[in-house]
Amino acid sequence: MKTETTASAAKAKFLGPRLAGWVALAIVACALPFLVSGYHTFQLTLVLVYSIALLGLNMLTGYNGQISLGHGAFYALGAYTAAILMNSLDVPYWATLPASAAICLVAGFLFGLPALRLEGLYLALATFALGVTMPPLLKYRHFDALTGGSQGIVIIKPDPPFGLPISQDQWLYFFTLVIVVALFALARNLLRGRVGRALVAIRDHPVAAEAMGVNSAMYKSMTFGVSAMYTGIAGALGAIAVQFVAPDSFDIFLSISFLVGSVIGGISSIAGAVFGGAFIVFVPNIANQISKAAPWAIYGVFLIGFMYLMPGGIVAFLHIAAERIKRRMRKSSS
């Protein structure tokens, strides 16, 4: 009897502050677009978009150990799918998301199959090749009618539905926020359960995992597919937010930014994706303000500095810091 009450009391004590934390976060997230300008709301929407893309990459590289230097290609695929559907077929913006998701899921899976043979550096090269290939493919003159070629495609920003009295920027923010919550919840369920354990097992001890009956090939290809799907959905949302797609926006530097963002946020974590998204949106601007002459040098210094301070990423750093604080509190109370 006593243990049950203490257990449930402990659970309540545990859930209480955590739940409060989530509620506070939700309130802040919903209030922000009304407190800041349209431009900042746009930036926050981009942070959310990139966090979805980075979550996809985290799944693949962080949880499953398959490095990808080419996720920008899936982002581009999702973006162009949305753009072409909206532009040529007048598909409503929200319907482009499932389409992008489906196409990228299949594309990712198909890429993951031959990639099964490749490991480490060689997989890095293969994904690098994918990332580098995307702009020329998008500019290929025989696809011009579909893709708009180098000129790109202009997209019309969606209006809030049901005549809601909010701006387009604010609507897009909330739309993206809902998608983020849904996708993050889905990822959490996947990664905290059997699937997640299988992925980590494949990453850390592939031979042992196989010996234990984990179907490594299927898991690895499926992970590629799901990871591509997440990044593809992000691409579609990004295209709608920016209202423009052009081939050279999706070059190899985008893929590298994704990797950088993932690592800085915390590559084997879900929350890390949001930190990473914030990093790649805001830090270049901060660097620009610090130095007009060589802003990317400052950005590079930031990268190196972050890796010195937080080699496991921001999330890992926060965990360590939280542990230290907890220990100090316990010490002082005992």
Binding site: F42, V242, F244, V245, A246, F253, W296
Partner: protein, 403 residues
């Protein structure tokens, strides 16, 4: 009686003058303007694959610094906020929105790049923010009917392509043309102009079209392919680094076609010298400005002023790089528009003044060329002249073409 007849109209006249006097001194300010300052903004590729074009932004900044040192425009200092977009359209959208919504600039001046400017084209027109003197030669910027707030500056790429086509048809009617072009909007726009200019003969005259990406280290292979196609006229649509490679490689492998070089890359100092002056003899190009390394302009007052400006305000820049010449001229045009606005610095008046530029002469334009706009013609510069390189300088040939 007589006195009354004089006094009443006089009183009326004085009354009218007094009533309208406030309008004369009246100041109408748009966003970003105060009694002492005008804020304007732009996006430039200071990083990324197109970082070579960041030099334009540096030239713009240096020009306005000089203007400010001399008291500004109508007593107001010009504050140019130049942000890096890395030639990435999503970043351009972000930075432009920052300039318009956070920094409250009066107008966007001279942002560079076709995809980057395309990304904010609709936004700026919807927000009624002047998008002036866009630094690309795409044809779409001169469309006042659909985009009344956007204006280009330089002669369009397509126009230049057509001029070369006309010259080929006139002087080399049986030519076999080989084209090297950069695989993006800039290269394809030129190519379109060339093809349009050749008309029905395009299909038979163009024997080989080869493209390249800016990420490629060299284009030697493309030149080899062009030589192998038997072309005897070479239309060279490349940016400076690749133009230098193309000119040198063509010479080194013994291919001596009649070469037309696009005017983005005809700088003696930045392209022909690295390629080799003796290897560039005979190249035909077109221009609307004076080449900074051309000895024939050494004593030209406009050029002297430019060189002094470079020494003082852009000491790290390359004085023979024509990017600085173009940047200077663009900023000078902007200065003219701002000056013409007087104290009415609203966005509407800015566009009005920009659409009514009459016969503006700039120190660095070719003699005889003038900047002209009307409410239906949003191409400030529409004239070009052909020129031929003789190993030392660009010799102007023919007459000024275009409007």
């Amino acid at each position: 009686m007589k006195l009354k007849q004089i006094i009443t109209p006089a009183a009326l006249a004085i009354g009218v003058v007094l009533a309208s006097a406030p309008a004369f001194a009246a100041k109408h300010y748009g966003p970003g303007v105060t009694d002492s300052e005008i804020k304007i903004g732009q996006c430039m590729p200071y990083s990324g694959p197109a970082s070579a074009y960041g030099e334009f932004g540096k030239a713009h900044e240096a020009y306005f610094k000089m203007i400010n040192d001399h008291g500004g425009i109508n007593g107001r200092k010009v504050d140019l906020i130049s942000l890096d977009d890395g030639y990435s359209p999503p970043k351009t959208v972000e930075q432009t929105r920052k300039l318009v919504e956070q920094d409250n600039v009066l107008l966007i001046f001279g942002s560079l790049g076709t995809p980057t400017n395309s990304a904010v084209h609709k936004y700026l027109n919807a927000k009624k923010v002047p998008q002036l003197f866009v630094a690309t030669g795409a044809t779409k910027w001169g469309d006042p009917k659909h985009f009344p707030w956007t204006m280009g500056w330089q002669p369009s790429y397509q126009q230049e392509g057509r001029i070369y086509a006309a010259d080929i048809l006139k002087n080399h009617p049986h030519a076999k043309i080989g084209v090297l072009y950069q695989n993006d909007d800039y290269g394809k726009d030129y190519l379109k102009g060339l093809v349009d200019g050749l008309g029905a003969k395009a299909k038979t005259m163009i024997v080989k079209e080869v493209s390249y990406e800016t990420s490629e280290p060299t284009i030697d292979s493309q030149i080899v392919a062009l030589k192998g196609s038997g072309a005897d006229v070479f239309v060279n649509i490349t940016t400076p680094k690749f133009a230098a490679q193309a000119i040198r490689q063509a010479y080194d492998i013994g291919w001596k076609p009649v070469q037309y070089l696009n005017n983005v890359s005809n700088s003696i100092g930045a392209v022909l010298k690295p390629a080799g002056l003796e290897k560039s003899v005979g190249i035909i190009s077109s221009t609307y400005y004076k080449d900074a390394a051309d000895p024939q302009w050494a004593n030209d007052p406009g050029m002297i002023k430019f060189k002094e400006w470079m020494k003082k305000y852009l000491p790290n820049g390359d004085p023979s790089d024509n990017f600085n010449v173009i940047g200077y001229a663009q900023a000078e045009t902007m200065e003219h528009v701002l000056k013409a606005c007087g104290n009415d610095l609203t966005r509407a008046n800015i566009m009005k003044q920009a659409a009514h530029i009459k016969n503006l002469e700039l120190g660095l334009l070719l003699p005889g060329l003038k900047v002209n706009t009307t409410p239906t013609d949003f191409f400030p510069l529409g004239q070009l002249q052909l020129e031929k390189f003789d190993g030392k300088e660009w010799k102007l040939i023919g007459s000024v073409m275009g409007k």
